[in-house]
Symmetry: C2
Subunit: 346 residues, 2 copies
């Protein structure tokens, strides 16, 4: 898409010129942003009763993303979203981000404009202020490092370690879609490698492709929970697969868990594609990751408030540690869950 | 140094294992750190009247550092320091950092332990809490991304744009040393390349080598200024060379400046080595960078408070914009200063 456009080399702008160019149209949306880009540091100030939350993520080309099928604009959008999701996972609201990038001379100024375009689109959609960052050259590929800053009242913050026995295990949205979207993209990449004249066949996969390429941060769930008067006892976002996230909560809360396979929310497209790929949809959910849904526990006393929420599904409950962490399969059999979270070093 | 030690591959620990391993001995020193490493986000809370400052930097192997002569422990130390310096440059105090690294499989667990050892040494020295981060694999080399968080009262924060006409231009410490240290290291690298049996000749260069390899953040100057009742009207830290930093202050304050060459503080070792390398010491100061000293302006009325401070030198004064930004050479001649800050894209 970018090939037909003008190509401006990074060297023509220089380090300061590039970051100035990429951020010149940055708007701020929050009163808490006292000073954004343009000095040695950004300055923020939350209400007196608010705590500040900080999270950071690094994305490396060839490890976390593959530019043969991920458009730079989508990459920019997603790289902001995955950070916002970490703040949501604390039951808090994201407000600011800093963005640092390292890019080799393979990238043109126009390419980085696309990337920033996606980032700023996410910022605008979620009312997030881009308040700082860094840009530099890299010897190979593209590296994106984002830090997100958010706020919450002290009493609203939810950690991973607060789940209690008999709490209900809940999840937002549906799971496994991002992983199946990735399978489609990988398949079409190999088809394209064999024969560059074949156009990618993506039809009928809109939903799962969007789950992979353009995920959302569940700020709406944080707001919904507040509105219905539910404070989770523990919460985490699903970046590495349901199994890995359940293990984080059970380990840090010193509990066990029963997860009911039949309760796991799946979009029909996710289910159908998994079957076509000869994959078990449940395994895709447990090990796939990148759904960026929220996994959380609530006291049984909140059951009435939760049960009719269309975007929240109760998928299990917390048990004593001695019972272990188990999947109760559709047939009724019990299977220990082991962490199979994604490991970039393997 | 690391070659004789055991080598543990990164793959043996995995992503979570690595970050857990590297951060297991992390201590926190500040009451403002409510929750550090171990959840989706860190939580901090400053006093009600304090603002939060955020800055971020990315360091790329082969662009910002050369591991043929920079020990990993020093690299870790310096990578924290350069971030702390950005908060000092706001007349604020750094309190927390997050650290993300991407490392190729060329690096062993022991090598990254060295890197983190240096980072944690800097944190301990400056009472900084390491509150989060990310670790991932890279396809090539080592990339370090650090975000620093600091605090200041609203009325104490100093921006780059507040300098006034006739203000005195001041600098902490001495300049040009880090650049001359780099010249020594580069020279010895080339000697070593030609003949690996020759031991590097670093004798008599302790001071400038330390300026390059183990710089410090001038938290002490921020505290000194507070103690003597001086609030700068503008401030910046010297990372890219004095010329570039002066241009930042004059541009953002809409002023000109006269910088007196004879006033520039130089360590004798910096001066002598520059001469030996046939370099003009003043050019080394203007274009060299990485001294991480503070450059700031104060009203003339603060002259008495500043003049006898051994660690602060008055090097010039601010003029109307129409007068331009000029170096007044030792001979009395005036020369326009142009930004020659370091550009990683060239």
């Amino acid at each position: 898409m970018l090939e037909n456009k003008e190509r401006t080399e990074l060297t023509s702008l220089g380090e300061f010129g590039l970051i100035k160019h990429l951020t010149e149209h940055v708007e701020t949306y929050n009163n808490s942003t006292i000073k954004g880009i343009g000095d040695d540091a950004a300055v923020i100030k939350y209400d007196n009763e608010k705590h500040t939350l900080i999270s950071t993520d690094m994305l490396v080309e060839g490890v976390h993303f593959d530019l043969t099928y991920v458009p730079l604009k989508h990459l920019g959008y997603k790289s902001v979203i995955v950070n916002l999701s970490d703040i949501c996972a604390m039951n808090a609201l994201p407000k600011q981000v800093t963005v640092s990038i390292a890019a080799s001379n393979r990238f043109s100024v126009e390419a980085l404009e696309e990337l920033y375009g996606g980032m700023l689109f996410a910022c605008k959609k979620y009312n997030i202020d881009l308040i700082g960052g860094d840009s530099t050259s890299s010897t190979s590929g593209l590296i994106i490092s984002i830090t997100v800053i958010g706020e919450a009242k002290k009493e609203d913050i939810v950690y991973r370690n607060g789940a209690k026995e008999k709490d209900l295990l809940c999840v937002s949205g549906d799971l496994g879609g991002a992983y199946m979207g990735l399978q489609i993209l990988e398949r079409e990449k190999f088809v394209f490698k064999d024969n560059p004249n074949i156009q990618p066949d993506l039809e009928g996969n809109d939903y799962i492709l969007e789950r992979q390429l353009k995920p959302e941060a569940r700020v709406d769930i944080v707001e919904l929970l507040k509105n219905i008067g539910v404070k989770p006892t523990s919460m985490i976002d699903i970046s590495d697969g349901l199994a890995s996230e359940i293990i984080h909560i059970t380990t840090q809360s010193d509990l066990g868990c029963e997860l009911y396979e039949e309760k796991i929310p799946l979009d029909p497209q996710t289910f159908d594609r998994a079957r076509e790929f000869n994959l078990d949809p449940t395994v895709c959910v447990l090990s796939g990751g990148e759904d960026y849904e929220l996994l959380f526990t609530v006291p049984m006393t909140d059951y009435e408030k939760i049960k009719n929420q269309p975007d929240i599904t109760i998928i299990g409950h917390m048990t004593p540690k001695s019972s272990g962490v188990n999947l109760i399969a559709k047939a009724g059999t019990s299977h220990p869950i082991t962490a199979q979270g994604w490991n970039s070093f393997k």
